[in-house]
C-alpha cells in the first residue's frame, strides 16, 4: 500500500480552503462565518505541515508556523466573538447584513 502523496493532501487543503471561502461569502450568521475562517486557516495549516514533511523534512519551520497560526487563530476567535457579542447587544441579531452602518 502506497503512502499518501503530497498531491492528495494539497487537494484536500484546497478543497477545505474553497469550502471556507464559500462559507464565508454565503453565510449570513457571523458565528458560521467565523467557523468558515477557521476552515481557511486550517487548510493553510495543512499546507504548511505537508510541505514541511515532503520538501524540507530536515527542518521544522512549517510546523512552527502551524503552531503560531493555531495560537493566533484562537486569539482572533476571542476578539471576533467579543465583537459579535457587542453587535448582538446593539442589534439583537448576529446577521452580518444588519451591521452595515460603515458606508459612504
Amino acid at each position: 500500500m502506497n503512502e499518501i502523496g503530497l498531491t492528495h493532501i494539497l487537494v484536500i487543503s484546497t478543497a477545505l480552503f474553497f469550502i471556507g471561502v464559500y462559507g464565508f461569502l454565503t453565510r449570513r450568521n457571523m458565528i458560521t462565518m467565523l467557523m468558515a475562517i477557521e476552515l481557511i486557516l486550517n487548510s493553510v495549516n495543512i499546507n504548511f505541515v505537508a510541505f514541511n514533511k515532503f520538501l524540507y523534512f530536515d527542518k521544522l519551520d512549517g510546523q512552527f508556523f502551524t503552531i503560531f497560526i493555531i495560537a493566533i487563530a484562537a486569539a482572533e476567535a476571542a476578539v471576533a466573538i467579543a465583537i459579535i457579542i457587542n453587535l448582538y447587544r446593539n442589534y439583537k441579531s448576529i446577521d452580518v447584513e444588519d451591521a452595515d452602518l460603515m458606508k459612504f
Binding site: 471561502v21 464565508f24 461569502l25 462565518m33 452580518v96 447584513e97 451591521a99 452595515d100 452602518l101 460603515m102 458606508k103 459612504f104
Partner: protein, 647 residues
C-alpha cells in the same frame, strides 16, 4: 565728544513707547498712554537739543567746517563679504537740524493731542501710531546709508497709512489712507530702482562713500556716466528715480494727489505729516544726495527745480479756491515744499553758490514751525465749530482769542512779512533763484504773492467775515475755546514763528558744512514784501466783510475757477488712467485669464475627482461579505496575473 549711546536713544525712545503703548496701553492704562508717549518724546527732544548743542557748538566743527560724523554703525545684514546693510547714525548739520525739528513738532503734536483726542475710544492706539511715526522719521533722518533710509522711508509710509486711516469707520478715511499708501508706494518703486542703479555702479550703499565716489573723478563716476539708457546716463536715471521717490513722499507733481485727501486723518496728525515728518522726507532725501546732484548731474537738479516750481505754483492756485480749511493748508504745504525743492534745484554746491541749499533747509525749518501752528490752530477751530468748511465759520476772533492771535502770526509768517520766520527763509530762496534762474524767480515771486492771498483768505474767512452762527444757541456758552493742552503748543509755536527767523542759519547748515555769510539787501526784499502786503490787502478787501465780490470774480474767471476748484482734474485724470485704461486693458483680461483658465483648470481637476468618486462610492456598501468578494476577486486576479507572467 559726542556720546553715541544717548544719540541712539533719540529714535529708540519713541519705538519703546510704541511697543509699550501698542502692546499694553489699551488694556492697562488707556488714558495714561498719552502722558507716557509725551514723556518719552520729551526725553527724546531734550536729547536732540543737547546733541544739536554739542554738535553745532562743540564737537561738530573742525577748521570751521561742520563734519559728517558717523556716531554709530553696526552691520545688520551681511549678504556677502563686501555687501552688507548697515544700521547707524549719521550726524551732519541737516540731520541734527532735522532731529530737533522732528522731536519738537512731534512733542507739540503729542501735547496738543492730549486735548484734541480726549475721549477717543482708540486713544492708546493713536499714541502708539504717533510714536511709531516719530520713530520712523527720526530713523530716516539719521540714516547712514541709502538702504537704511529706504527701510525707514517705508516705515514712514506705513505709519502715515495707519494715522490717515485712523477713523477707519469712515469710508472716505479708508479711501484716503489707501490712496496715500498706494501713491507713495508707487513712487517708492522708483526710489528702490534708483537705489539699485546708484549702488550697483558705486558698489556701496553708504552715503558718505557713495557721495565721495560719485562726485570725485573716479572709475565709478566714469562708468556710471558712460552707461546710458534711453539717451540719459545711468547717473541721471538713478538720481531721477530717487527723486521720484522723494516727490512721492513730498507730494510733488505728479504724485501730489494723496496729500489733500490725507486730511481725513485727525488734525494733529496732519500737522505732523505736513510740518515735520513725511512730506519733508523728499526734500531731505534730495538734500542728503545733494553733492551728487549738484556736482555730477546738474540736469537732474534742473528737473528737481522745475518740478518744484510747477508744483508750487499749481498748489498755490488750487489753494485759492478751496473751501475746506484743511485742504487749503494741504495745498499750501505742497506749495511750500515746492519752494524747498526748487531752492535745492537752483542751488550750487559750496560757498556762495550753496545759498539755495541753505535757504531750502532754512525754509524747511521755519515752515515746519508755522505749518504745525497753522494746522494745530485749524484743529482748534474745527474742534470748536465741528466743521471743516469755511462757509460754516466766520467771526471767530472774539470767541477764540488765543487761537486767533496765534493763527494770525502763523499766516504772517507764511506770507513772508518781516520780521516773522517765513520772511527770512523766503527771501533767501528768492535771492538764490534770482542768482541762477530768472524764470523760476518770477514764478516764485508770483507764488509767494498767491501764498499771502490764500492764507489771508483763509484767515479772514475763519475769524472775520460774517458773525459766527452756532448750530444750537447754547453752543457758545458750553464750549470754551480749547483746553490748555491745546493752547500751550499754539502759544509756544507762535512765539517760535515770530523768532525762528533770527536763527543764524547760514552759519550752521550749508551744503558743504562751511559757514556762509549772507548779506541782507533791503532793496531786494522790498518787492516781494510789498507784493505780499498787497495780496493781504486784497484778501482783506474781498473777505473781511461778507460781500459779493469774491463770487463776482469767481464768475468772471468761470472756467479757470472751476478747474482750480476741481484741482485741475488731476484726480479725474488719475481715475481715468487707472480705472478706464489700466483696469479695462490690463486688469480685466488678466482677471479673465485667471478666472477662466487657471481657475478653470483647477475646477476641472476637482470635477473629475468628484465624478469618479461618485461613481465608485457604491463599492463602500458597509457589507462585509461584499468586501470579501472584492478582496477575493482581487487576490484571484493577482494570482492569475502572476501565473500568466511566470509561465
Amino acid at each position: 565728544m559726542l556720546n553715541s549711546n544717548y544719540i541712539a536713544l533719540i529714535p529708540l525712545l519713541p519705538i519703546i513707547s510704541f511697543l509699550i503703548i501698542g502692546l499694553a496701553g489699551r488694556r492697562y492704562f488707556p488714558t495714561f498712554s498719552g502722558v507716557l508717549g509725551t514723556l518719552s518724546l520729551l526725553a527724546s527732544f531734550v536729547l536732540s537739543v543737547f546733541t544739536a548743542y554739542q554738535y553745532f557748538f562743540d564737537a561738530g566743527k573742525v577748521n570751521g567746517v561742520y563734519q559728517k560724523i558717523t556716531a554709530m554703525k553696526f552691520v545688520w545684514l551681511q549678504f556677502a563679504p563686501n555687501i552688507s546693510i548697515d544700521m547707524g547714525i549719521l550726524l551732519d548739520p541737516i540731520s541734527v537740524m532735522m532731529i530737533v525739528i522732528v522731536t519738537f513738532i512731534s512733542l507739540m503734536v503729542h501735547v496738543y493731542s492730549m486735548g484734541y483726542m480726549k475721549g477717543e475710544p482708540r486713544y492708546a492706539a493713536y499714541y502708539a501710531f504717533l510714536s511709531l511715526f516719530t520713530f520712523s522719521m527720526l530713523g530716516l533722518v539719521l540714516s547712514t546709508n541709502i538702504f537704511q533710509i529706504y527701510i525707514f522711508w517705508e516705515l514712514v509710509g506705513v505709519s502715515s497709512f495707519l494715522l490717515i486711516g485712523f477713523y477707519y469707520e469712515k469710508p472716505s478715511a479708508v479711501a484716503a489712507s489707501k490712496k496715500a499708501f498706494i501713491v507713495t508706494r508707487f513712487a517708492d518703486l522708483g526710489f528702490l530702482i534708483g537705489i539699485l542703479v546708484l549702488s550697483y555702479f558705486a558698489e556701496t550703499l553708504d552715503f558718505q562713500t557713495l557721495i565721495q565716489r560719485l562726485t570725485v573723478q573716479s572709475s565709478y563716476l566714469s562708468s556710471i556716466i558712460s552707461a546710458s539708457f534711453l539717451g540719459c546716463s545711468a547717473l541721471t536715471w538713478g538720481l531721477l528715480l530717487v527723486f521720484a521717490g522723494g516727490a512721492g513722499k513730498s507730494a510733488m507733481f505728479p504724485f501730489h494727489i494723496w496729500l489733500p485727501d490725507a486730511m481725513e486723518g485727525p488734525t494733529p496728525v496732519s500737522a505732523l505729516i505736513h510740518a515735520a515728518t513725511m512730506v519733508v522726507a523728499g526734500v531731505y532725501l534730495v538734500a542728503r544726495l545733494f553733492p551728487i546732484f549738484s556736482n555730477s548731474c546738474p540736469e537732474a537738479l534742473d528737473v528737481v527745480a522745475y518740478i518744484g516750481i510747477f508744483s508750487s505754483l499749481l498748489a498755490a492756485i488750487i489753494a485759492c479756491t478751496q473751501t475746506d480749511i484743511k485742504r487749503v493748508l494741504a495745498y499750501s504745504t505742497m506749495s511750500q515744499i515746492g519752494f524747498m525743492m526748487f531752492a535745492l534745484g537752483v542751488s550750487g554746491y559750496g560757498g556762495e553758490k550753496g545759498l539755495g541749499f541753505m535757504a531750502s533747509m532754512f525754509h524747511l525749518f521755519t515752515h515746519s514751525i508755522f505749518k504745525a501752528l497753522l494746522f494745530l490752530g485749524a484743529g482748534a477751530v474745527i474742534h470748536y465749530v465741528h466743521s471743516n468748511d469755511m462757509k460754516d465759520m466766520g467771526g471767530l476772533r472774539k470767541l477764540m482769542p488765543i487761537t486767533h492771535i496765534t493763527f494770525l502770526l502763523a499766516c504772517l509768517a507764511i506770507a513772508g512779512i518781516p520780521p516773522f520766520a517765513g520772511f527770512f527763509s523766503k527771501e533767501e530762496i528768492l535771492a538764490a533763484c534770482w542768482n541762477s534762474n530768472k524764470i523760476i524767480f518770477g514764478a516764485a515771486v508770483l507764488t509767494a504773492g498767491l501764498t499771502a492771498f490764500y492764507m489771508f483768505r483763509l484767515y479772514f474767512n475763519i475769524f472775520w467775515n460774517k458773525e459766527f452762527k452756532a448750530s444750537n444757541s447754547n453752543h457758545i456758552e458750553h464750549h470754551g475755546e480749547a483746553p490748555g493742552t491745546m493752547l500751550l503748543p499754539l502759544i509756544i509755536l507762535a512765539a517760535l514763528s515770530v523768532t525762528a527767523g533770527f536763527v543764524p542759519f547760514s552759519k550752521l547748515v550749508t551744503s558743504d558744512g562751511a559757514g556762509l555769510e549772507t548779506e541782507f539787501h533791503i532793496g531786494f526784499a522790498i518787492g516781494p514784501v510789498l507784493l505780499a502786503v498787497a495780496a493781504i490787502l486784497f484778501a482783506w478787501f474781498m473777505y473781511c466783510k461778507e460781500s459779493a465780490v469774491p463770487q463776482k470774480i469767481a464768475d468772471a474767471l468761470k472756467g479757470f475757477y472751476t478747474a482750480a476748484y476741481r484741482k485741475f482734474y488731476f484726480d479725474e485724470i488719475y481715475l481715468f488712467i487707472t480705472k478706464k485704461i489700466i483696469f479695462n486693458l490690463i486688469g480685466r483680461p488678466a482677471a479673465w485669464i485667471d478666472k477662466n483658465i487657471f481657475d478653470g483648470f483647477m475646477n476641472l481637476i476637482a470635477t473629475v475627482t468628484e465624478d469618479v468618486s461618485e461613481g465608485i462610492r457604491s463599492f463602500q456598501s458597509g457589507k462585509v461579505q461584499e468586501y470579501a468578494i472584492y478582496f477575493f476577486a482581487g487576490t484571484l486576479g493577482f494570482v492569475l496575473l502572476f501565473i500568466y507572467l511566470w509561465t
